[in-house]
């Protein structure tokens, strides 16, 4: 059992929890993820590690209810427990392996969409701790859905934008990136984009045009997270990759996003939807539209 030490609501539909998981906290690095399972009947839910404290033995997760399990998870409070919490899974972000001196010479920009801000946070924080201040563009649908603004500000140059213009500026993350590069004379050696697949796809189309190497963090459907089931397979540069062991981060210019997005719909067909409803009865909530589809 893994105790929840702190549970916060970051926005209308985004939840943060600090969970006691000493083995994970001791070994994790930015870019990796965990799988949580709430109780006996719950699904195994992959969630990116948003923060960690090796000394306290805690790991922070941030999530958005998408289906039955995540909706039930949102109701957990401090003092409750997760039955299962396993990790760290996947490969750490490549930044962690690079030579620090080389890294310091690089200009890095992060583009985060929606709940994707959560996995971006540990990376910019890690860079900040190693003496590098990156730029980060955070896009939210609307002001109420913006998360982690204050924390982000402490560790990077933050550019906020909202789809509907309800806060700071109107537009998408891609609009800001284009503006920074084309109008404000910014030059970047690396872009890291994390968010809904559709957003990552468009960031990659833009960065290809702007000639900026781009890393994305893929979030396909997963089951075990250890390379055992193949549910998470993606095509990257014409090769089959398992996101849970080979990723979740990949070269965004090589990922077949269209295929990945179709695969993400696996349990979202008409029939699948009806079935989920049938299986989940009253607990069926969104998962087929409410979640925004792609996260």
């Amino acid at each position: 059992m893994y105790k929840i030490l702190n549970a916060e609501k970051l926005s209308a539909n985004v939840f943060l929890m600090d969970v006691e998981a000493p083995r994970v906290a001791k070994h994790c690095l930015p870019g990796q993820f965990v799988i949580v399972k709430m109780d006996e009947v719950g699904e195994r839910i992959p969630l990116t590690i948003c923060d960690y404290d090796a000394e306290k033995g805690t790991v922070t997760i941030v999530f958005q209810p998408a289906g039955a399990s995540t909706t039930r998870m949102a109701q957990l409070k401090a003092g409750d427990y997760f039955e299962d919490f396993v990790g760290p899974l996947g490969q750490p972000s490549e930044l962690c392996h690079e030579d620090l001196e080389e890294l310091k010479k690089k200009k890095i920009v992060f583009v985060a969409g929606g709940v994707g801000t959560a996995p971006v946070y540990p990376q910019v924080k890690w860079l900040h701790e190693h003496g590098i201040t990156a730029d980060a563009i955070v896009g939210a649908k609307t002001k109420d859905l913006l998360i982690l603004e204050d924390k982000m500000k402490e560790v990077c140059n933050l550019y906020v934008t909202t789809d509907d213009g309800s806060y700071v500026r109107k537009g998408m993350g891609t609009d800001v990136l284009r503006d920074l590069v084309q109008n404000q004379g910014k030059e970047y050696d690396l872009c890291v984009a994390i968010g809904p697949m559709i957003m990552m796809k468009f960031v990659c189309l833009l960065t290809k045009e702007l000639n900026i190497p781009t890393v994305v963090s893929m979030n396909p459907i997963m089951v075990d997270g250890t390379g055992m089931c193949g549910a998470c397979r993606l095509m990257v540069g014409g090769e089959v990759k398992f996101a849970c062991v080979d990723g979740p981060e990949f070269d965004g210019h090589k990922v077949d996003f269209d295929l990945a997005m179709k695969r993400q719909q696996m349990y979202k067909t008409e029939e699948g939807r009806a079935l989920l409803k049938l299986q989940e009865g009253d607990t069926h909530h969104g998962g087929c539209g409410h979640c925004g589809g792609d996260k």
């Binding site: 994970v24 195994r44 039955e83 899974l89 089931c229 695969r263």
Partner: protein
């Protein structure tokens, strides 16, 4: 009087009934039936059957006790060689092992050794007979990685010798393939698998789930920082293979591992669990092993019409005979001597069919089986909405890639000797599918026993110096 040339028939759920539920298919013998079947054993002096059993269970010995109605004694005899009789009695490929060698089988049917073993194990369970824990702990700590048959057996044996054993398991439930792979209707999870796990725990073994060795902690850390003096690796062969044909990434194409895990471990077939599973209407399962039979019969129970597509003929099907027979009875269709060449999809990338080519058997290959060769121009299509790939698995490189000095062969299998499970790294032993590639429960169990012997000798010799 029953015909002594024939096995005492075992009661089973009727095919039509069981094809719609997940209850165990085979109901097993009762006391009278078991004693009657045991009576057929000739008690051979040079018992051929024992040569066929990979762990050399004293078969005439235990069968004799069953005949006499001394079931507890029978259980003890089996227990000298096997730690998981309730499992092996159910899933061993008996027709190629013990029963395949039985003298009775020369003229008539072999003694039903598997069913008798299962009866004895179930009887012991119902009567509360448990393995006896070590009288005294010896204070040495050993770590076991993986809670499949090899890990459970190794841990159990070491605990009986007095070791302080912890099993680390990556998944949230212990049992390995026994919980995530083999379905409920063949191996009941609560009644059999959970009970075996409890038995091992009752010997004092600790099981820590949700720990992925190589990620949550490495073997080197277990040895250096956590005070373990030796490690046994029983991490199985969990990596699924695909064919590499067009359309394989489409929606509706699954590995058998995913399909079975969703259903067995995550209990997708039960409405009170959150995990979804694809309920295909027409399902193609590619492959001919136990895993393929399990996937096919699971899909059938979820309401589909099911085709098994296998490139050789019936004689070469690697699955247990009983499973093939059961699958046929339940209505699974066998498309033999054909091989998929492409998976067809609609504009949304959902599976609509599978294109196959017919095969014929040519010259025998290295394995001694006749090699299937394509018949040019014989392509045909089967309309399906789901394809389950069951082509075999290989060991997961997670451990070998994070452990310094652990040698693997070119198939990514850990190199370990057969007698003691000794690897290239001091204090590290291994066995089961992680060493052999996908094999059988009984071989994994045997390897667990060998590893326990190896570790015991290693630790003892360290202190003898």
């Amino acid at each position: 009087m029953a015909d002594v040339l024939k096995k005492v028939p075992v009661r089973e759920q009727a095919p039509k009934v069981r094809a719609t539920n997940f209850e165990e298919v085979c109901l097993g013998y009762n006391k009278e039936e078991a004693m009657e079947e045991a009576n057929r054993c000739l008690g051979c002096k040079k018992a051929k059957c024992m040569e066929g059993c990979p762990v050399s269970i004293n078969i005439p010995g235990f069968v004799h006790e069953v005949k006499e109605g001394n079931f507890e004694k029978a259980y003890q005899i089996i227990g000298e060689s096997s730690a998981l009789p309730a499992v092996c009695g159910r899933v061993c490929p008996q027709e190629t092992q013990c029963e395949g060698r039985c003298i009775r089988g020369m003229k008539g049917e072999a003694v039903s050794i598997g069913k008798l073993e299962r009866f004895v194990a179930d009887w012991a369970k119902e009567n509360g007979i448990k393995p006896v824990p070590a009288a005294q702990k010896n204070g040495h700590k050993v770590a076991v990685i993986g809670s499949g048959p090899s890990g459970l057996t190794c841990a159990g044996d070491l605990a009986k010798m007095g070791y302080d054993v912890t099993i680390f398991e990556a998944l949230h439930k212990a049992g390995g393939v026994l919980v995530y792979g083999i379905p409920e209707f063949r191996l009941p999870k609560d009644k059999v698998v959970a009970a075996e796990v409890e038995n091992v725990k009752s010997l004092g073994v600790k099981i820590e789930t949700n720990v992925i060795i190589g990620k949550s902690v490495t073997i080197d850390e277990l040895l250096k920082d956590e005070g373990f003096e030796a490690v046994f690796i029983g991490s199985g062969a969990g990596l699924p293979m695909f064919m590499g044909i067009p359309g394989e990434q489409a929606n509706g194409v699954f590995s058998a591992n995913e399909y079975l895990t969703r259903n067995n471990l995550m209990k997708a077939f039960r409405e009170d669990y959150d995990t979804p599973i694809a309920h295909g209407k027409k399902v193609a399962v590619v492959g001919g092993g136990n895993v393929a039979m399990d996937a096919a019969r699971t899909a059938l129970r979820l309401g589909a019409e099911v085709h098994i597509i296998y490139r050789r003929s019936e004689a070469e099907l690697p699955a247990r005979k009983e499973e093939v027979h059961h699958a046929k009875e339940e209505g699974v269709q066998f498309d033999l001597l054909c091989n998929p060449v492409e998976i067809l999809t609609d504009d949304k990338d959902w599976v609509t069919g599978i294109k196959c080519i017919r095969m014929e058997l040519g010259e025998p290959d290295a394995s001694g089986r006749r090699r299937p060769v394509e018949i040019p121009g014989s392509e045909f299509t089967i309309d399906v909405d789901t394809v389950i790939m069951s082509l075999g698995t290989s060991p997961n490189p997670l451990i070998s890639s994070t452990t310094i000095g652990l040698d693997v062969n070119k198939r990514k299998c850990i190199i370990a000797d057969e007698e003691f499970g000794k690897t290239s790294k001091e204090g590290v032993y291994a066995g089961g599918d992680a060493v052999t590639g996908a094999a059988t429960v009984i071989l994994a169990m045997g390897a667990g026993k060998a590893g326990a012997r190896g570790i015991d000798e290693y630790i003892k010799s360290k202190y003898a110096k």
